[in-house]
């Protein structure tokens, strides 16, 4: 039943993509509406800034529109746009990380204190701070796995790297995240001192 539904969805999307390739702007808008939230969530986790994430979504869909005729349907439309968004995010994050590094050197943001925050804010800030510890590729692989629930193979495809590299990046990313959260979210994850 689920497979049938998936096939039907795939056929419908192929039809919409075909229309968009023929210049139907409404069809392209339908594709945008269907996938923009996921692309935004990916970009937002990667960049931790709503405006930057919105820019990435815009640019990714714009580039997709420009090269829509080259899209052969070998992967899903969403995976294709995510590949474009991923490259944009990595490039933007690398630029941002220079400033994050400077912040750390001068001591800003080195000792987070979220005790007075409500849980949702505390967790959001904790996750964002933990993600900042990762390199661009570690963060991207980790976000793709967590946000999109992608397999190692799918992450490798989106990032255009080998499966082995994805495994290494995910392992390193998880270790860094755990270390940071154990130190900074004591109630939830315990102290690293207990190790």
């Amino acid at each position: 039943m689920e497979a049938k539904k998936e096939n039907w969805r795939h056929d419908l999307e192929s039809e919409i993509i075909q229309k968009a390739q023929d210049g139907d702007t409404e069809a392209f808008e339908n594709l945008m509406t269907a996938h923009q939230t996921q692309i935004f969530q990916l970009a937002y986790r990667m960049l931790d800034n709503r405006d930057d994430a919105l820019d990435v979504v815009q640019e990714a869909f714009y580039r997709a529109w420009r090269s829509l005729k080259k899209f052969r349907g070998e992967s899903s439309f969403r995976l294709w746009v995510e590949t474009i968004a991923t490259r944009l995010c990595i490039s933007k994050y690398r630029k941002k990380r220079v400033f994050i590094g400077i912040e750390e050197i001068i001591g800003l943001g080195s000792k987070p204190n979220w005790d007075d925050e409500i849980d949702a804010d505390k967790y959001r800030k904790a996750i964002a701070s933990a993600l900042k510890r990762l390199t661009a590729r570690e963060r991207m692989a980790f976000v793709l796995r967590m946000e999109e629930k992608y397999s190692t193979e799918e992450v490798a495809k989106v990032m255009n790297i080998s499966k082995g590299t994805v495994k290494t990046l995910l392992h390193r990313a998880k270790e860094k995240m755990k270390k940071f959260l154990r130190t900074n979210l004591l109630d939830e994850f315990g102290s690293i001192k207990n190790e």
Binding site: T25, E29, M32, T33, Q36, T37, F40, Q41, Y44, R45, R50, A53, L54, V57, Q58, E59, F61, Y62, W65, R66, A120, Y123, R124, A126, I127, M146, E147, M177, K178, L181, R182, E188, F189, G190, S191, N194, E195
Partner: protein, 142 residues
Amino acid sequence: MNEFDEKKFDEIWESTMSVLTPREMEKIRGGIWHKVEKHRKALKFRAVFVTTAIIIIAVIIAIDPFSSGNNIDQNDFFVFSEKDYWQQLEKIPEDEIIYEVIDTDIDSIANVMIYESDIESAISTLSNDEQEELLVALADEI
């Protein structure tokens, strides 16, 4: 060592997922079509620019201002200072310049020749007797 609570981590991750507001969705939509429009305009401009360039090149080829049929050397068009201009001009035979400026009308050429001639210096080369003869001849003509 404490086990890292993966389930708790997944829960926290899910709870901190960001959602797009309708306004942000509209901003994305507007931004994309704005970029598309800009791209279309750029393509149109490029097409117009290329067409204009092709027309200009075609016109230049048709006019052929540097063709060998022109008696004045094409280098004459590329002098940069007044001094250079006069030096270049000196190299060109006088009749060629007159031909270029006045065309072939014989009366016009004669007028220019008379106008350009230094009559005073020409007369000074004559002897006193010759000058007197010339004056008598001119008086007879008048």
